[in-house]
């Protein structure tokens, strides 16, 4: 073990002790100054955008908005967001959405509830009312109080626009629409400041810490209480931080954070384009595809949040969430109404148990018209175990598979033949022995006992753990040590929203040692991430302090 790891191990353990026995957290960071990252600049995600607008203005002002895809980096879109660039094609739909939201907020239907004051005259500017509305909205959208200058400029903009249009509300909408495309809203910018408690060292300012926490735990901007805590400097004290984290992890909004993490981690955005051949898989309709994705999230929500179970058991649990359209494909009794979700315990003799046997996973990692053990194996390796499966070589010899006289009935026969080629074998041995364990489920995730009349052999092994069927594969995955380091790593990276520093990787390596004892309960994992000494650590910044937002120039 290298020296820095030793330096970091103790605080990680301390963090666990802190959250598990409610003692004071030693979260002031490591004594070494070598750790820490630079403050990040992340592009907001579509779900964050929607969640913020919904909490500020309500669901009925939300327009349909399409965010351009960002590059998946280190397995996460959240990490890619820290390098994402706003090209004209990215900004276009955001600009349209901004205007649509602003118009709805000020329309006669909404203005009385969403605007806290009435102008003296609806046909001219009203500085006081505009200021009241814009400063309140600005606090939520920018995740900090607007500076005096920012607020003055927006109030002036609203005033000029009101004079021009002879409409107070039109003026207000103009100012609001500009805030909704402002970099202060669209980018989550972290701000570093000199740490007064530790000479020569830097820290994230309170509002940046608040945003870190709320985007991580709630997939949205900080609420009023968290912003107040930030303004008071509470988040710089272990007690203050702990109080907020406990409040936030106890909130129903935690579900949103969990959904955001697992949507990203499991690459569920791919569902937007999952379609199956209607002739081969007539039961797999668009509604089924949507519900399959939702089933994964609801099962996770039920397992991790509602019931507080261990993450690893997600791969063996027989409890699933079920909707009416899915019941048909699962061959289970219809328990739920048309748009209802109900928990269901798969019977002991069911061939299914665990996340890998949900049709969502099975259909995502398959072709439109057939299953794919290679894709499923690759999905398990790359997504759930954070491993890299190399690209195939360009000149692959498929001559054996292509032999028209061979008459392969099953995927295993095809792949075994293919893998007699040593150049193919290397990588396929990483994926196929796992994926073949799921072959009793077709490309749409439906159970089948045979393929083209031939029996299906689902035996295999995962990194030395032998299994005979999909349920055994789930058990082998549940007990695979890499499953634990992978979720630790991804959850931490999702929390900071950028690639991990070397020191952070060393910190995260320590997580399983701690979680093995407590269990991989979601809230415990979150606390371990947040209270780890590296989570808020900032590298000393060069030169004079950047133009910092200080309490003095904040507008109140």
């Amino acid at each position: 073990m290298s020296a820095p790891v030793k330096n970091w191990t103790k605080p990680v353990r301390a963090a666990l002790i802190a959250f598990s026995c409610l003692a004071t957290v030693g979260a002031t960071g490591p004594s070494s100054t070598s750790g820490g990252a630079d403050p990040s600049l992340r592009l907001i995600s579509v779900s964050q955008y929607r969640n913020i607008l919904q909490s500020v203005f309500g669901a009925d002002v939300l327009p349909k908005v399409r965010f351009a895809p960002v590059k998946r980096t280190d397995g996460l879109l959240a990490v890619g967001s820290s390098a994402a660039v706003v090209t004209p094609g990215v900004l276009d739909p955001l600009d349209s959405a901004a205007r649509a939201v602003a118009e709805r907020v000020v329309d006669p239907l909404h203005r009385d509830t969403l605007i806290p004051c009435k102008p003296a005259s609806a046909s001219s500017a009203d500085e006081a009312c505009a200021q009241r509305f814009l400063s309140r909205v600005g606090l939520m959208l920018y995740r900090r109080p607007m500076t005096q200058q920012e607020l003055t400029e927006k109030v002036m903009l609203a005033g000029k626009a009101a004079a021009r249009s002879k409409d107070f509300y039109s003026g207000l909408a103009t100012a609001l629409s500009s805030m909704l495309v402002s970099p202060n809203f669209l980018f989550i910018r972290e701000n570093a400041e000199v740490d007064p408690a530790r000479p020569g060292q830097w820290r994230l300012d309170g509002y940046s810490k608040a945003s870190r926490l709320s985007f991580f735990l709630w997939d949205s901007a900080p609420d009023a209480e968290l912003l107040t805590a930030a303004s008071r400097g509470d988040l710089h004290t272990p007690e203050g931080l702990k109080r907020q984290v406990e409040r936030m992890t106890a909130s129903p909004l935690l579900t949103r954070g969990a959904r955001a993490f697992f949507t990203d981690f499991l690459a569920l955005e791919a569902y937007d384009n999952v379609a199956k051949d209607p002739v081969i898989y007539p039961a797999f309709t668009q509604k089924v595809a949507q519900d399959a994705r939702e089933q994964i999230l609801r099962t996770i929500e039920d397992h991790l949040i509602t019931r507080g179970e261990d993450y690893r058991d997600l791969f063996t649990t027989r409890r699933i969430m079920l909707s009416a359209p899915l019941a048909g494909i699962y061959g289970t009794p219809l328990l739920a109404g048309p748009s209802e979700w109900k928990p269901f315990d798969l019977p002991a003799d069911s061939p299914r148990a665990g996340l890998l046997t949900q049709i969502g996973f099975l259909a995502q990692y398959a072709h439109p018209g057939r299953s794919s053990p290679t894709r499923r194996g690759k999905g398990i390796r790359e997504v759930l175990l954070c491993q890299h499966v190399p690209d195939p070589p360009p000149n692959v010899d498929f001559s054996i598979v292509e032999d028209p006289n061979a008459h392969f009935s099953t995927a295993r026969q095809r792949l075994v033949a293919h893998n007699t080629d040593p150049t193919c074998r290397g990588c396929h041995m990483m994926t196929d022995p796992i994926g073949l364990g799921l072959e009793k489920f077709d490309g749409a995730g439906q159970f089948r006992a045979t393929e083209k009349g031939a029996a299906i052999d689902t035996s295999g092994n995962l990194d030395g753990a032998a299994f005979t069927d999909a349920i055994g594969l789930g058990r082998a995955l549940r007990d695979n040590p890499t499953l634990k380091s992978c979720i630790s790593n991804r959850l931490y990276a999702f929390g900071v929203g950028r690639p991990l520093t070397e020191q952070e990787s060393e910190v995260v390596e320590q997580f399983p040692a701690v979680l093995d004892k407590s269990g991989y309960r979601f809230k415990d994992m979150l606390r371990l991430v947040i209270f780890s000494p590296s989570f808020f650590a900032i590298k000393p910044q060069k030169g004079p302090a950047m133009a910092l937002l200080t309490e003095q120039n904040h507008a109140h």
Binding site: D38, P39, L41, R66, A68, P69, K71, G80, A83, V85, V86, T87, P88, G89, V90, L91, D92, D95, R99, Q149, E153, K154, L157, K160, R164, S165, S170, T174, A175, S177, S178, V181, S182, P183, R189, D272, N273, A275, D277, P278, V279, I280, Q286, H367, P368, G369, R370, D391, P392, P394, N395, V396, F398, V401, E402, D403, P404, G443, M546, A547
Partner: protein, 450 residues
């Protein structure tokens, strides 16, 4: 009254709007838009606008039934190109041009298109070493239209774009026909041939909103490190693009005789890669694009018919185009994978549809296509082995007489970047070489330059 000066127009509008209402200016529709030669706008003497676009299809071709036996003009059309018969006089086909990777791996279905778009072979999957050539071309062509470029993916998949600034800055495609229509011909569209020009009074409010955003961005930038400043610069550029679009809304658009506002699509097509569906989406997007060009909404476009790992599929078949390229035996008699080849033929039909759609729109002394240049290519030649030798490429259009068409050019193994270089030079990009390492070239393909 025909107001020619931009300033006069804007001042007039400002006055009108400040008086509290919109100004409706009745402008006479000119009977004759073009000069006597049909080569320039009569009103301004400006040459007819030129356009540039790209068209992409995945998984290459079958050499034996694609490559013409003869080179130069009057080349033969082998079976895989049969669909191009009716547009043959409008296109050039380029074979035997190679993508060289200088020891970097051939990243299947990636290295080829990346090199042909940006002049450099990637070192790893996901890496885009330089900006795609449509970006400098759009910059060289300047503004004056609502959209600097228009990206579309007939696959309906939001990640299918071959236009980019870098790996972190992809120009996202339009994936929905309804959304594409709204973007082009929705509320902000101003019919260039309308006799009434009524600028929306909200345009001025929008201008002040964007101006305020720019002020914020400047203050914001001061808080950032060097790399993030570059990212913010791009954001700033994007805001400027919006501003320019808004400015255009204050001006009476120049007349566009072939512009006819299309009908709004009733509903979007379902998602999925069934080839019938993708073909239908491609046609719908192409028709909207052609009208967008005729109506001067954009001058640069990128169309993706299928992606480089194409999972286009025939209803009822369990094997996608990509699976077929690897699993289907080669017929010894024809040296072709018949089912995989079927998809290539459909791709060529789509390409023919695209070229013909541009050629159907009359413009000046010719057609829209005659004033355009389209650069089309795939990601490899023979997908089964991912060959980077002989990646098929096309051009379509004469670019206002600057390009000769109707030819088959044999590249003799030269770098495929020669075409990208030629295309950029023709479009006025001020470069004297393009590409790096073995892909670097300063040799135009002179045979097609008029």
């Amino acid at each position: 009254m025909l107001i020619k000066s931009k300033d006069a127009t804007r001042r007039g509008l400002l006055k009108g709007i400040l008086r509290g209402g919109a100004v409706a200016m009745a402008l006479p529709l000119l009977d004759i838009f073009l000069d006597d030669h049909g080569t320039a706008m009569a009103a301004t003497g400006d040459p007819l606008p030129t356009r540039f676009g790209t068209w992409f299809w995945g998984l290459g071709v079958d050499h034996e039934i694609f490559t013409p036996k003869t080179v130069g003009a009057n080349f033969d059309l082998p079976p895989q190109m049969a669909a191009l018969e009716k547009v043959k006089q409008h296109i050039n086909v380029f074979t035997n041009f190679n993508v060289l990777t200088d020891g970097k791996p051939n990243l299947c279905h990636f290295s080829g298109w990346v090199a042909l778009r940006c002049g450099a072979a990637p070192g790893a999957r996901g890496e885009l070493p330089a900006e795609s050539l449509d970006v400098p071309i759009a910059a060289a062509m300047g503004g004056g239209v609502r959209f600097r470029s228009l990206n579309m993916a007939a696959t309906g998949v939001p990640r299918d774009s071959y236009s980019f600034l870098s790996g972190d800055a992809i120009n996202p495609p339009e994936v929905s026909v309804v959304e594409l229509y709204q973007k082009l011909f929705g509320a902000e569209f101003q019919d260039p041939n309308s006799s009434n020009f009524t600028p929306d009074p909200r345009v001025l409010l929008r201008q002040s909103a964007l101006s305020s955003v720019k002020d914020e961005a400047k203050a914001f930038e001061n808080m950032l490190g060097a790399i993030d400043r570059q990212r913010l610069d791009q954001y700033f550029t994007s805001v400027r693009e919006l501003e320019k679009r808004v400015e255009l809304q204050l001006q009476k658009p120049p007349p566009a005789p072939a512009c006819v506002m299309p009908k709004a699509p009733a509903a979007d097509l379902p998602i999925g890669l069934d080839i019938e569906l993708v073909t239908e989406r491609h046609k719908a997007m192409t028709d909207l694009l052609v009208m967008a060009l005729a109506c001067n909404q954009t001058r640069v476009f990128n169309m993706v018919f299928s992606d480089s790992f194409s999972a286009l599929v025939r209803k009822g078949s369990e094997r996608t185009h990509h699976i077929l390229t690897h699993e289907e035996p080669i017929d010894p008699a024809t040296q072709v994978q018949p089912h995989a080849s079927w998809f290539v033929e459909r791709s060529m039909e789509a390409w023919a549809y695209f070229v013909e759609a541009l050629a159907k729109v009359p413009e000046g002394d010719g057609t829209l296509l005659d004033h355009s240049l389209v650069y089309a290519h795939s990601d490899c030649e023979f997908a089964k082995v991912h060959s980077l030798d002989g990646v098929p490429m096309f051009t379509a259009g004469k670019l206002g007489g600057k390009v000769k068409t109707g030819m088959h050019i044999d590249g003799n193994g030269d770098p495929g970047t020669r075409l990208g270089y030629t295309v950029q030079r023709l479009m006025g990009v001020p470069i004297d070489s393009w590409g790096n390492q073995s892909l670097k070239t300063s040799r135009e393909i002179g045979e097609i330059v008029a």
